[in-house]
Amino acid sequence: MVSNSNINNVKTKTIGEIFSKDPKIICRNVDVFYGEKQAIKDVSIDIASREIISFIGPSGCGKSTFLRCLNRMNDTIDTCKVKGSISLDKEDIYDEKIDVVTLRAKIGMVFQKPNPFPKSIYENVAYGPKIHGLSSSKEELDFIVENSLKDSGLWEEVKDRLQSPGTGLSGGQQQRLCIARAIAVSPEIILMDEPCSALDPIATAKIEELINQLGKNYSIVIVTHSMQQAARISQRTAYFHLGELIEVGETKKIFTMPKDKQTEAYISGRIG
């Protein structure tokens, strides 16, 4: 347990409001190293329940690295070391007692390129519930699959061909399938790593609409290269630069009156 007394008592260079009233995830003084190289420097931020927060910043600024710390996906990289504390519901996720498997079931993830398994649409969505034993019968599993596909807006398009391969769908449909697959395990938080960067504008619009819908029930952290996208969908925006969290704040404020010069430079298109 992270004690309540010191979580809001933290030294930080970040400009803006890093704290939230109802924090789901609390990150304090997080450093990430790839071998000798430091990719994230002293980042502290809260992520609230049912908020959509976007991470923006130039390429290589560490926003994806930081995102992958939140569900310990960086564990798969041998040279990666994480320091500082990240807690989910006030439990340190890097504690030895935490089972990374259950953690990742609570924090779902959607990746940059749509990556459906080479299995049927049904099997793709049913994969998570199956390995976590979330259903006790075929009917229950069918119900979960149907609901997840409905929530991801894909049900009407695929309900007649659930047994055809997921890789046969279009790019946008594949990405929504991946979202359905992530929400099928009923996570509390969904991390999205540039989910629209491989999609065309129409598919992107559909995903953005879907993210807005999902924001009512889940906390969503989205890394994006598109500032317009961040402006359209997120309530809060965090600007990263060279591994540091420069500025956090309400999206409107960040985009209209950024306090930091670097943020302003990025938003007005001078760096990035």
Partner: protein
């Protein structure tokens, strides 16, 4: 002077042309003219231009004068030998040829001496003709190529074209050889099927070619020999099956370990060690099977009350399985590594353990490639000979019991063709029929493997 001096001369001429071509191009360049290609391409162009036609004519004359002379020399063979029932052109030619080389014992018949002297004279004349033809071609055509050199001549493109046709020629040679092998087997098999009906060969249950004698070949009566190939193919598949039971789990599991669990250092040690298995000659596996594994199995079997033949399918299949492990592990390792990292991430992102990712995501995604590697291993196992000859025995038992001695198609081909053989008998010819059937089976397996691999590739593009 002989053929080799001629060859060296041709090479020297083309080197000379290279020098001249290069020099001319350089002089053009020194006149501040902008050349189309680098100077040495002009040299290479002239050199290739001179050597290819001259080499071609050299080889052509070398091949055809032999054929021509062997027909002309028949003039010198006495009528009584030509007309005698024992006349054999090959033997007569060999006799003359030996005289030409000076290899003979005792007195030669007069006609042989005359013919061989004539042959020597012809050979010398042909060499002189060859000499002049090749040299003049090398000089003449080389000169034509040399004349081609001017400022705008695209020698680089021409050299590319010549190189491309040389590369194409090499691959055609490989293909033609394969076709030649298949046809030589087909023609001999047809001769076999003229004696033994194909239905008997394909469906007969007894294989016993040892008693092939004059009865059958001469009078057309039933001989004692029988040519039912079923026991051989059953033996082949039994041994291959045992080999697969050994190699598929071990190969696959080691591939999974190498690609998913081993760290870089372990991988750099284990993978080459595993691939050493593929470098061991099969005859070494053979005596390992015959001298170590087979007695071990017989003794082990007798301990628990099993009657294991001293040459058993089990021993041969087991060792063959060890032999094909690297095929499966190495190829499977490659396909498992080819599974995109994004699929692994997807699995981990949903909260799978490493084991679940491997069994539910990676293996299904890599399955077509794994199947292809297994099929390639099967065709390797079916074609394997040495281990079987040494460890499985030669008794053509129709048995599905792995503890019995069985034999395989390849082992039988070896026993049939080793030693002095009469090429007209059904026994000898049966080897070709067996080979043909085997080629067809492995061909089908290979085609199927390629098809599976192709399907797999389509999935990830």
């Amino acid at each position: 002077m002989n053929e080799y001096t001629l060859l060296i001369l041709l090479l020297l001429i083309s080197l000379l042309w290279f020098y001249f071509g290069n020099k001319t191009a350089l002089s053009l360049k020194n006149k501040q003219l902008k050349l189309n290609s680098l100077p040495h391409y002009y040299g290479i162009y002239v050199a290739l231009y001179s050597i290819i036609p001259s080499l071609f004519s050299y080889l052509l004359i070398l091949v055809f004068d032999g054929i021509l002379f062997s027909n002309l020399i028949m003039e010198f063979v006495p009528k009584e030998i030509l007309n005698s029932p024992d006349f054999n052109k090959i033997i007569v030619l060999a006799q003359i040829d030996n005289a030409v080389r000076g290899i003979y014992f005792g007195e030669q018949p007069d006609w042989v001496t005359i013919a061989s002297n004539q042959m020597i004279e012809w050979n010398n004349q042909s060499l002189i003709v060859n000499f002049f033809c090749s040299i003049s071609l090398a000089l003449g055509i080389g000169y034509l190529g040399f004349k081609n050199i001017h400022q705008e001549f695209r020698s680089r493109n021409s050299v590319e074209k010549i190189i491309i046709s040389l590369l194409g020629l090499s691959s055609i040679i490989a293909i033609l050889t394969t076709i030649g092998i298949v046809f030589s087997v087909i023609f001999e098999s047809l001769r076999f099927f003229a004696i033994i009906p194909a239905s008997e060969f394909l469906f007969g249950l007894t294989w016993n070619p040892q008693f092939e004698g004059a009865e059958r070949a001469g009078s057309g009566q039933e001989g004692l020999a029988s040519y039912g190939s079923v026991p051989l193919f059953v033996g082949t598949f039994l041994i291959s099956l045992i080999a697969l039971c050994v190699s598929v789990p071990i190969g696959l599991f080691s591939a999974v370990y190498l690609s998913e669990y081993a760290n870089k250092k372990e991988r750099s040690i284990f993978k080459p060690l595993l691939e050493i298995l593929a470098g061991i000659p099969t005859v070494v596996y053979g005596f390992f099977a015959a001298l170590t594994v087979a007695p071990l199995m017989r003794n082990g079997g007798s301990l628990i009350g099993l009657d294991v033949a001293s040459e058993s399918a089990l021993a041969a299949g087991f060792v063959m399985g060890i032999m094909i492990i690297p095929f499966i592990s190495s190829l499977s390792d490659d396909v498992i590594n080819a599974v995109p990292q994004s699929l692994r991430d997807a699995g981990y992102g949903l909260g799978s353990t490493k084991n679940e990712v491997i069994t539910n995501v990676i293996i299904p995604a890599a399955l077509p490639g794994i199947i292809a590697s297994i099929i390639l291993a099967v065709s390797r196992a079916i074609g394997e000979t040495m281990i079987v000859v040494m460890a499985a025995g030669l008794a053509a038992n129709l048995s599905f019991n792995p503890l019995d001695a069985v034999t395989t198609v390849t082992a039988q081909i070896v026993t049939i063709l080793v030693g002095d053989q009469e090429f007209e008998s059904a026994k000898t010819l049966s080897a070709f029929a067996l080979a043909l059937t085997l080629i067809v089976i492995t061909l089908i397996l290979n085609f199927y493997a390629l098809h599976v691999v192709k399907k797999y590739r389509e999935q990830y593009e």
